[in-house]
Amino acid sequence: MTETDTHTDGAAPVTSTPPGPAEVESPRRQVIAIAIVAFIVLGVGLVVGYTRASSQSSAAWVELAQPVEMPDVVLTDTDGQPYDLRDRTSGRVTLLYFGYLNCPDACPIHMAVLGATFDQLDPDVRAQLDVVFVTTDPDRDGPDELREFLDRFDPDFVGLTGSQTELRDAQIAAGVPVAVADPPDTNGDYLVGHATQVLVFDTDSVARRVYPFGVRQSDWVADLSDLVDT
């Protein structure tokens, strides 16, 4: 519409010889034309901005000041097989989470919301996404326990365990606070402090954003649909 407006303006002074429409216009008309164009550009910008905001930014995530590369570690999956984390997730959008099965709050809520989200996602989108849950409590969370836990939410979620050293290395590489096991209580139970954010790795194996907590299903559905190429 911008073009049509200026063209009709320029076409008005038919009388004079070809000096080009802009030059014939009085300065005042130029100012008006510029104002109209500016107004339209601003309007278009606002609409684009609004659409981007509503479809892309859920405001549920936090941009990482320092992007993080996918940890280059080989862990053990729920079949007891080696799982080369960087290799296996390369070219895919990967949601990486460190947690443990005796965690009653953040871990199952995150996984439940992601499970419900995956149920809602378009199959094409879903096919390009992985959820990888890495335990920070390898002494209690073996491959079978991990599988049982994750099957509550989605049988496709990947569960990984490893040695204490491997898992510590993975957490350091991912830039999350390393989980620390509290001393066991009289029942031999112990709590494992752990990071509660989900790291989202793009197809280039770099994480640029994290989802700290309390992310709604609708936010995940919108954001994940935007993060993969369809």
Binding site: P104, H110, V210
Partner: protein
């Protein structure tokens, strides 16, 4: 002037102490919105609620009919996220609503003895430093709903 002022302060202090003593006996304490995340038997669940104590108090423990043990967990800020830590007690400042909520403080119900399905009820007995123990009926809610209530 100085001695007079001191006397006034002492008098005020005596009045305050007197108030605290009388208020202590029947101190009010309310627990609202008690809920537990749906969790299968054998796993650990989290219970949440809002507590408001009339006088300064502390939540010192919990037991439940649904699990062998229950413990208090507090979310503490940490670099790049929160760290969940087990604590012996949670402070309940007078007149302040203390919210136990998803991704925050909660009571952990360890090693559930039965499946907790949305709509079920769980009895949790909370004990306090000053106030008598309170039995709370918590409603079981879906985990996804717990995420929705946040923010």
């Amino acid at each position: 002037m100085k001695p007079a002022r001191r006397l006034t302060l002492i008098a005020a202090g005596a009045v305050l102490a007197g108030c605290a003593q009388t208020a202590n006996a029947p101190s009010t304490l309310t627990v609202d919105r008690a809920r537990v995340g749906a969790t299968p038997a054998g796993a650990d669940a989290a219970a949440y609620f809002d507590i408001r104590a009339g006088g300064d108090d502390r939540l010192t423990g919990a037991v439940t009919d649904a699990a062998a043990r229950a413990s208090l967990h507090e979310m503490r800020d940490a670099d790049g996220g929160g760290i969940m830590t087990q604590v012996d007690a949670v402070d309940l400042p007078a007149g302040i609503e203390v919210r136990f909520e998803p991704f925050g403080d909660h009571v952990m119900l360890e090693d559930l003895e039965r499946d907790l399905r949305p709509g079920d009820n769980v009895t949790i007995t909370l004990s306090f430093a000053d106030h008598a123990s309170i039995d709370v009926e918590a409603t079981v809610v879906a985990l996804v709903d717990l995420a929705e209530e946040n923010r």
